[in-house]
Symmetry: D2
Subunit: 323 residues, 4 copies
């Protein structure tokens, strides 16, 4: 059709695996830079709009970033009874902070991202991602390795630690943030009743063993309860995985309680903790609510079998890298 | 790496939308034929193995067909208390019959597929799909238009009608099978307490309005309860949608009860109705169980909003075709 | 390798035919606009650098535009003994004018391009294409349909008419410029000894019948001698074709004489007519010289057979469109 | 269009360079095997028909193999006055032998190919390539490394040596066949007036420095005259290069004489040496004749400059590998 011809044939091609490729029609390249750490690009792609691309991999897209960020943030925040001090590892686009700061209980949100240039580009080119977060007095941002920052940190412990970082690939500096050693540091920086959550890479039938099962097993070795969940973020090319972990928390006795949380209980918690209407209230949530919670934590039988069967634990000396 | 070079660069490319393409590495083309109705191909692709391709669109792949077929069949079968007579529209590969026949209550399974050649090729090239179903005395197969067959059918009504047919695209003959008229015929062929379920096309954030919301709205106009659900079938290139509908059923009072079915209740029903161990028992299920049930029916907030907002009803005179 | 990862995976994909696609790695999109007539884009692609793209088809690329433009211009200009008044149909990038104005005999070069915006974008983004031509007093530019302009033109006739226009595709306005009717107008606007040359679309073994053989046959019906030639312009995805035609000319008695022009004769003509050194002299030519002339006009046996066998003549009422 | 949909979307994708990819629509995979040396596949692709693919790279296609094989064989054979004993290095498909045996002067054609399985597959699946050559008493085939065979050969010297082998890529065993050392052996096995010709890899503007200029420089260091030429073989994705070399030959005094060979002289030699009509006579040639000869040897100015500027000589210890 004419409209297609008129937008011409540029494509953003991303390898999901060696054997599987996703291509998005590319409308424009709006920013093309290179920081000390990585290539940084902002593109406009037809299916998902404005998209941040780091080293050739899409990080978040206007069309579905809300799914990823709501899924990452809200379950852990709500399972914790009353999160006041929260920590974000990574999160350069600002959208993770945006979601955390919706929770009225939060008094301090500390974000540590390695690459200041990602934050600067996001503020300039992706202002919708951060929304008002950059001006929120509760947010404190440091540009440093999150591992080193947490290790050296001497302040009061955190209620929720949220890891929004790149996948553990060999070239990346961040694999340490997925190791048992890091999770043990994290334990010492978590307050009683604290919860950690981390994005955990691809989670579909043909990709879940790249790193998801390993991250889950590693968290399960450092915490009493590790709860896996998945969500469909179409711009990522496959179902995406997360893991939250805790020794004890206010909202659930164990993983099974998280999985069977009633729709009413989740909806009530959202209303109470985030608030009702308005652009910053619960009506601003577009993905997450009680039913969506069941959808995320209700994992397939094959996945639970694979998680149970996984024996690899990621350590600094024995990392597992995505292929 | 050498192994990749050795398999060489053949690709199976499928358009998910005009703006989004999925490519799978192609190892081999094992069958390449053409029936009266469509091009029929069996390929071996690297990420998902042996795959049936009709008119260039993948239908089911060895690697994940179990997800699709278990998701299509078991919720409806279990929600019905005691399905004895069941009907399959389409289902040429035999895997839908395979799953239905796992239910010990089934006495008669009638399958009506337009294209005998798809069945013949499946028996020959995809014997794992049908497993033993082709030799099961309870299965009766007709090669005819399912719409005409059901309209002319004078026998006893069905407990479950399961529509496993191609998406409603303009070129295809099958769009009538998604219309309000067809669903009203179906009502007359369903026994008291009967349930209908249909595959409903793509269900992800950027594809759910192609036909899923319309099919749901159309079923909701013909039945008292229409319950949407989704599942990740990676070889389809995006999350896949289904809709089940009933006026009354043994297993749930309404849609909300389906969504919040307890893990234990589903698991108990599976054990009771499909049986315990063995290759035909419940341990043969690889995707579906109580937790997976929650995952399928726990739909995102944005999807329920879109389903509520949909006003299009598909009728014979006003069809809605996928783009 | 790291360098590839760092440039990320954007691609410019162009269909050579329905069955054959060429993809160039895309570094950047430098301009993205839309005129009254077409989508206009300037991209930077890895294999060929800065490239002008109109409606999704590459027009000329920094890396090899010199091949196309030298091949288009110099044979006709040299075969004419002493071209003083020359006409360019199309040629918006300015590179055709640049090559024509190298010929010291030229006193007036009139260029008629439909789309002023292509010229403006070229001046701004592709200044190397036009080089100094835009400031050359001998160049006069009109923004109009070349067909209408020539039809209404009342001035002195031209020595060389050079058609540098888009391929005859259905959507395009320009197919008239490939018809017998147009070539007959052209005859009336050519001076005694005048020569016409036109780009003639793809010219390789699997594409020459799309329009090349038809254009050749059409010119052969309007002129006494029509001489086909081809050249490799890699950014076009296949060998490219041209046709020059004349009733009589100073440089060659007939097509055979053009084909067997001695290397020395061509080289001497270049030296005499374009001049020796310097950036505007013959040393500035990078593709064309006596040996390259033989390479262009020495066509394969299969091509001459196909040209002889072609019976289609393009007329206003019976156009032949590229598929 | 419907016909395209019906053939579905399988593609054969080949990297021309890291930055440039060619894709052909794939109809079928007719053979898929693996020898001791390489993956061997026979495919049917839409633009060029049946195609032999070795380790993922197309070797020759039904649609244009005649161009490659005629271009490789006939210039060297005709420049030699009277070739009686000829040698083929590689040539497994049989088409090089087919073209050499057209020359009535040939009494003995020895072909040495490393991989017997390529020959066996070609005989079985590509019988048109060899035509009658496999049954021609003048042909003798050895399955061995051509380098070792020639080094150990004690028989009478050859009039023409024709190297039809894979490009010098690191993984391949055959790079030695492009080294100065090999060419010096070859000299000792050539009779007085003997000629060597070798395929020389990609020859277009953006690929000629991968190996063509090096092969030319290497031959020029071992022979008095090295003559480069190029031809368009569309299934190879870019213009293809060849080099012939001799110390003295019957047909031309030097490279310049080859380049300016008159059309009549070439056509007369073809008629005299290959014969007139019939399927094995000169009328069977579809690409090569006097005009095509000019087209091949008439190289662009930029190419001759690049050949002159090349200083790399390939030796066993200092190979140059294609990227």
């Amino acid at each position: 059709p004419e409209s297609v011809a008129m937008t011409s044939s540029f494509w953003f091609s991303e390898d999901v695996t060696d054997d599987m490729v996703t291509k998005f029609r590319l409308n424009n390249i709006m920013y093309n830079g290179k920081s000390q750490f990585q290539r940084i690009q902002v593109i406009d792609c037809a299916p998902f709009g404005k998209t941040l691309v780091l080293d050739g991999k899409s990080q978040s897209a206007a069309g579905d970033e809300f799914v990823y960020h709501e899924a990452l943030v809200h379950p852990a925040m709500l399972l914790h009874g009353n999160p006041k001090r929260v920590f974000i590892g990574g999160g350069g686009e600002g959208a993770t902070a945006r979601e955390m700061l919706r929770h009225r209980s939060v008094e301090k949100c500390i974000m540590v991202d390695l690459d200041k240039m990602v934050v600067d580009v996001s503020k300039d080119k992706l202002p919708e991602w951060g929304a008002g977060c950059w001006d929120d007095d509760r947010l404190e941002v440091y540009y440093q390795d999150a591992h080193a920052w947490l290790r050296d940190y001497k302040g009061p412990p955190f209620d929720v630690i949220c890891m929004d970082i790149a996948d553990p690939i060999e070239a990346g500096p961040g694999y340490v943030l997925y190791t048992e050693e890091f999770y043990r540091y994290a334990t010492t920086q978590l307050a009683e009743g604290g919860i950690i959550v981390t994005q955990s890479g691809p989670g579909s039938l043909n990709t879940h063993e790249e790193c998801f099962t390993v991250i889950h097993r590693t968290l399960a070795s450092a915490f009493k309860h590790a709860v896996p969940y998945t969500v469909d973020v179409p711009s990522f090319g496959c179902t995406w995985a997360f893991t939250l972990a805790f020794n004890a928390c206010a909202g659930a006795a164990d993983a099974a309680a998280v999985v069977e949380m009633s729709v009413a209980a989740t909806d009530a918690a959202i209303a109470a903790r985030i608030g009702g209407g308005g652009s910053s209230g619960s009506s601003a949530l577009r993905f997450y609510d009680g039913a969506a919670h069941l959808g995320m934590f209700g994992t397939p039988k094959w996945l639970r079998r694979a998680l149970d069967a996984e024996r690899r634990v990621m350590t600094v000396d024995n990392p597992v890298f995505m292929i």
